[in-house]
Amino acid sequence: MADQQEILSGLAEIVNEETGLDPAEVQMDKSFTDDLDIDSLSMMTIVVNAEEKFGVRIPDDEVKNLATVGDAVNFIQSNQG
């Protein structure tokens, strides 16, 4: 099981791969849309890559609740199988 820090850095790698953003920018309090400028299409790719990396299922209905990086990290942490 990955801890919070591992999930954050793993997610930062995925975001970097998809958008080219510096992984250091990907912090818990950052909003995907407002701070990181990630659109819904990129978000889908990030979600699917995160599912694969962390072995979780993130339902489409849940994605809209993941406003910040912290929301995603917490969701992944509490749903890891």
Partner: protein, 413 residues
Amino acid sequence: MSERRVVITGLGATTPLGGTIAETWEGILAGRSGAKPLPEDMLERYELPVHFACTIAQDPSEVLEKVQIRRMDPSAQYAVIAAQAAMVDAGSPELDPERLGVAIGTGIGGVWTLLDQWDVLREKGVRRVFPLAVPMLMPNTSSGNVSLLLGARAGAHTTVSACASGAESMGTGYEMIRQGRADMVVAGGTEAAMHPICFAGFSQMQALSTRNDDPTAASRPYDTGRDGFVMGEGAGVMVLEEYEHAKARGARIYAEFAAIGMSADAHHITAPEPEGAGASRAMLEAVERAGLTAKDIVHVNAHATSTPVGDVAEANAIRRAFGADADGMAVSATKSMTGHLLGAAGALEGLFTTLAVHHRVAPAAINVDDLDPKIDLDVVRGEHRTLPDGDIAALNNSFGFGGHNVAFVVKSV
């Protein structure tokens, strides 16, 4: 409104001969072939009868960001590289985004993305299909991406007429400026169709050369030994600009885009009409609309793909259009070096036609060792031909499956 004239002020390309138009033109003047062997694993897996193609010389990742590569089909990557280079060549002009347009044609569009993502769906399921699959595979993916990158808002268009697409898009750009919809248009064509299905499909038509023992000699338009075309890929883009606009900013003007002529054969879905009736009408229309006569045309960049039937049909069409005046036209067959870039072919050749007028040189075709007696044209081979001083004009021919005929005239300024 007085007649708006359209001039060519920037050129950009990425081709089988080089990552820039300068390198490509150098290759053309040096008589280099862009043919290279295809990857072994692809040949073995699909047992393709053709073992070579004019693949692109430069890896796009040398120029584009990793994220751009991920989010654009190769056809759009090539278009973006060529369009950016063309704008730089035009002096990176600042203008109102609503006066800058885009017209990028393609023959096949995002075929790699379409088939890659189909493989992903079958092998890994729907969740793994890339959310950008649709905007990457659509034929207008290149004009959309170029518009986005340049902030061009006058309009972004995509012409699709098989191997005439690139030439037709230059006509679209020309019309946008003539009609006052834009002052500058980035216009051209792109193609990235080196997918096994394209080789398989064209092979089944018997359209491709199978000279596997000598790939650089395979593309040989007008030669008696020709046995089909050689697949090429890449993009060619020109910056078209309203004449007064170009003058006012002191732009370097390569030549004038003088007119375009178009017609359709309505004869057969792939075979050209053998007497060249439709093709000759397009050529005549272009010359007439340019306000010129056949005697003004000193050079033709022919479509000349190196197929046994197509080359003769075009030669007949040129004769039919211009009669004895065709004797005064130095005919170049640059596909002997670049291969056939399909939807980018007419665009890249439009760049060559422009440079031929600008530098007053008609490039020599390679591999024309034994000129087919059925070709009654002054084919430039062996050595380049110097074009005359004074006012000159040249014709660029492009034809596509579907019976599309496109010819445009470039003249000296």
